[in-house]
Assembly symmetry: none
Homo-oligomer: 360 residues x 2
Amino acid sequence: MASAPMDMTIIQGDCIETMAGLPAKSVDLIFADPPYNLQLGGDLLRPEGSTVDAVDDAWDKFDSLGAYDQFTRAWLTEARRILKDDGGLWVIGSYHNIFRVGAALQDAGFWILNDIVWRKTNPMPNFKGTRFTNAHETLIWCAKSEKARYKFNYHAMKALNDDLQMRSDWSIPLCTGAEREKVNGRKAHPTQKPEELLYRVLLACSEPGDMVLDPFLGSGTTGAVAKRLGRRFIGIEREEAYIAVAERRIAASRQVEMDALEISRGRRAEARVPFGALLETGLITPGTPLMDLKRRWRAQVRADGSIALGKEAGSIHKIGARAQNAPSCNGWTFWHTETAGKLQPIDMLRERYRTEHLSA
Amino acid sequence: MASAPMDMTIIQGDCIETMAGLPAKSVDLIFADPPYNLQLGGDLLRPEGSTVDAVDDAWDKFDSLGAYDQFTRAWLTEARRILKDDGGLWVIGSYHNIFRVGAALQDAGFWILNDIVWRKTNPMPNFKGTRFTNAHETLIWCAKSEKARYKFNYHAMKALNDDLQMRSDWSIPLCTGAEREKVNGRKAHPTQKPEELLYRVLLACSEPGDMVLDPFLGSGTTGAVAKRLGRRFIGIEREEAYIAVAERRIAASRQVEMDALEISRGRRAEARVPFGALLETGLITPGTPLMDLKRRWRAQVRADGSIALGKEAGSIHKIGARAQNAPSCNGWTFWHTETAGKLQPIDMLRERYRTEHLSA
DNA sequence: ATCTTAGCTGAATCGTGCA
DNA sequence: TTGCACGATTCAGCTAAGA
C-alpha cells in the first residue's frame, strides 16, 4: 500500500502545453493513445489556433493530413523532451493514424523496437460486408534513439506467457462488461482500453516506482493499472467529464502488495561470480578435468582460475570458444565436471557459491 | 522474357522505369513487396553459436529515411497512374518501413481500406532476449481514392473462413519446406512469401481474367498464384537470378478448376490461456496464495504470472513439479485457491477466463 | 517399414560493464 | 570514446539420419 496520493496526478489541460511545463528527462515511460479520427475538424486545430477549413475534397484531405501531422510532431517533441534517456514510448492507433504517427516518431529520432498487434478476440463485425473485419489495433514501442538503452523485463514477459517468449501479437478482449466505465448507464468514454493491455505494457517496460505519463488520459486505464502495479503516474486530459471518470476509477484501484510485484529477473541480474572464486573457496580444485557434454574436449583447471586445453590456456569462456572454433561461448554451461560417471555443468558450482557465500 | 501463356509476363528492369512504360489505368490489382530497409547491424548469433542468415542484399540498402521515402513516392506515383480507377493496391512490410509506406500512400491520395496482420505461426525467435518476438508483418490494402469503388469478394472470404467474416489478422506459416524455392540447395530468395498469403489476397480482391501486377517480383509467388487462380499477370524484377527462379516456378504452376478451391483452414484448437492472462484481467491478483489439494505446499502468485515457493520461482507447472519432486506437473489442476475455507483448482479460473473473455 | 532424435532454419533494425 | 572480457540467449516445423 505504498502509493501515496501524491504519486498519482491528473492535470486538466492541453497535452502539449501541459507537457511543456514538465521538467526535461523526468519520465520513465509514456503511453499515448492520441485521437485518430481525421474527420473531426473541430478536434484538429492548427498550432496558431485556427480551425481546419474545408475548401474542396482533395485540398481538405491534404490539409487534414498535414494538420494531423503537425499535431503529432508537436506532442512527440514535448514527449521526447520530458522522457529520460533510457525511457520508453508507446503509442496506440489504428490504420487511420498509426502510419503517420510511426513515420513522425522515426523522423523525430525515436527508434522503433517493436510494433505490437492488439488482436481483439471479440471485435465488432463489419456490418456492411465491404471489408475485412477490423479486428486489431497497432501499438508502437520505441526507445529514445538508436543507441539508447531501454527497459524490457524479458523474463517477466516470458513468465506471463507460460515460459514462451512473448510475441508481437497479443490476443486480448475488448473492454466490456463490469470493467467498462459507465455514466448514467452509457459508456463513459468511446475508446476505453482494456486493463489487460496496459498491464502488459507497464509490466514489460517499467518497474515499481517509475514515473509513467499518459498525455491522453481519457477514462484513465493507464492510471488505474499504474497504481495497481506501484508505478507513479501523471495523466493529462482536456475534458472535465473524462477527468471525473478517471479520478474515481484510479481512486478505486488498489495497489498489489509490494512483494507480489517481484518479477522474474533472469541471470543478468544475478551477482557475477568469477570462476576463480570457486577455487578460492575450494568448490573446485586445481587439476580438476573439465569436459563438454559430449566429452569431445577435455581441459584442466589451473590454480589461477584459467583452464588449459592442449597448449592453450585462458578463461573458461575463451577456451570453450576456441575448442568449438566459435566466436563466443558461455563456459559456465559448456564445461562439466564428472562425478561417479555423471557430468554436471560447472554452472551448478556457481549456483552453490551464490547460495553458500552470497545469500546473506 | 515472357513465359508460356501470353498473359503471364515477366519484365526485367527497374520497377519505376518499367511501370512508366505501361499504359495508364490498365491494371486491376497491384501487389507490392518493396525492400524493407532493415538497417541490420553486425552478425547475429543463435544461442547454440550458428549465425543467422540475414538479409544483407544491396537492394535493401538505402542511404537514409529520406532516400527511402523518395523511392517509395516514386514507385507509388507510377503504380497510381497505371492502376484502374476501381483497382486495388496491396503493400507488405514490417515496422522498419511500413509506417513510411502507409503515410506516403495516404499522401498520394490512396484510401486505406484495411491494414492486415500476417501473424506468423512459426517466426524466428528473438535470440538475445531483448525485445518481443517479431512475429508478424503488416499489409496495407487500399483503393485509389476515398470515393473509388473497389473489388472485394466478401463471400469468398467468408467461405474461406468457415462462414465467419474474414478478420484483419491472418495466421499463416512462413514459407518453408518443399514450397521454398532452392538453388543449389540454398534458398533462392531471402524473403519468399508463402503462397497461402497471396492466394488470399488475390482471391479477395480480383477475379479471373483480371490483370495483376507485382513490381517487386522476387521469387515469383504472386505470379505463381495468379496463374493458379486464372489471373493475367505482369511481374517486374531487376535481378536476373530471381527472374530465372520465377520463370521456372510460374511455368510449373497449374491453374486450378475454380470449384476446387483450397479448403479453408479450420478454426484453431481451443485457445491456450497463459496463466498470466488471469492476472492481467484481475481474475487472480498478485500475492494470492496457492496450495495443493492436501495443503502440503503453499506458493504465492507474482505480478508476472510466475509463482514463488520458498526461494524458487517459476511457472505454475514448473513449481508444481519442483514441489513434488516430479518430472512434470499440470499446474492448472495441481494448484488451488482458497475461498471461505474451500479449495478450488485454478483451472476453474481458466474456465471463467474462456467464457468471459474468449466466448464471442 | 515405423518411430525417435538430432540438426537446421526463418525479412532480425538482438548486450553490458568496466578499464 | 573505445576496446575488451564476461557470458546471456530460441520456437516451430521440416528433414535426414539413426534406432
